[in-house]
């Protein structure tokens, strides 16, 4: 790990999850992006956290059991 002319590892890691979540301002996002270009350790951390987030997203249920969906349709029709 080392300091770059923009931001250091500590600052980058502090906001890495917000970076991955797409929740930073354009300037802050670019600052971390520049750091990741030159820091292999932080880049590896970013890859790991991104993949873990991606794995978690696969837990989303797209299918609702038919019986449950029918119950909700019936409920909505009754409003």
């Amino acid at each position: 790990m080392y300091e770059t002319h923009t931001i250091g590892c500590e600052q980058a890691l502090q906001r890495l999850l917000e970076f991955i979540d797409g929740e930073l301002s354009d300037d802050a996002h670019e600052g971390i992006e520049r750091h990741l270009l030159v820091c292999r350790s932080c880049f590896s951390r970013m890859e790991f956290e991104s993949r873990l987030k991606q794995r978690l997203s696969t837990l989303s249920f797209s299918d609702v059991p038919t019986q449950s969906r029918d119950r909700i349709r019936e409920l909505l029709e009754g409003f």
Binding site: D21, S41, R51, L52, L56, F61, S68, R71, I72, L75
Partner: protein, 200 residues
């Protein structure tokens, strides 16, 4: 802004029924209770439809009703609800626990990445178990952010907390999830080649 029509309300609900039902299942840990929670939340949503200011915020608005409905149902059944439901915002080791830091070896060759190997070996069941083991206030925020992909602003709306609280709670929740995931993986005997040599 005009109150949402019955047809529009139904269309909005059906478009997010999967995520609503998924979150309800993980909150209640029971399919029958999840069905009841979703139905009750939708009924409450319809009754409170005048409070929906912005149709674009329907998803967050509906998750807020679901979460509040769940909490109010829990309060009826818990003997000491406040102690169970109020999140501890103080944080601790869980905020900083990182699987990456446990496994990463900076001086290995480029193709040897124990942390990626760890992820490759994880099963869906491991992730489900770790998520289910989280305290409720952490499980909710991870489900909304990472499983369902809500933005921080939407989560703040859904949980009725400031965005800053979402940031800090999510950081702690993710640390707690990694801690739990680490324990779940070790219970299953999952070790990476490097971890098995270094983390005894």
């Amino acid at each position: 802004m005009a109150t949402i029509s019955k047809d529009a309300f139904a269309a909005e609900v059906l478009a997010i029924l999967g995520p609503l039902h998924g979150v309800a299942r993980r909150l209640t840990k029971n399919d029958a209770d999840a069905d009841d929670l979703v139905a009750e939340s939708i009924t409450r949503g319809w009754q409170a439809r005048a409070s929906l200011i912005d149709r674009c915020a329907f998803r967050a608005w509906m998750f807020r009703i679901l979460n509040n409905t769940f909490i109010s149902q829990r309060r009826k059944t818990l003997a000491r609800p406040r102690e169970e439901l109020l999140p501890d915002e103080s944080g601790g080791e869980e905020r900083t626990f990182s699987i990456f830091e446990r496994l990463h070896r900076p001086f290995l060759l480029w193709f040897a990445t124990p942390e990626q190997e760890f992820l490759d070996k994880l099963l869906r069941e491991d992730l489900e178990r770790a998520l289910a083991a989280l305290p409720e206030h952490y499980r909710v925020v991870v489900m909304l952010a990472d499983v369902e992909g809500l933005k921080y602003g939407e989560i703040a709306e859904a949980l009725d907390v400031p965005v800053g609280t979402v940031r800090s709670r999510l950081a702690r929740a993710r640390g707690a999830l990694q801690r739990t995931l680490w324990d779940v993986a070790r219970e299953r005997g999952l070790q990476t080649s490097t971890a098995s040599r270094t983390s005894a």
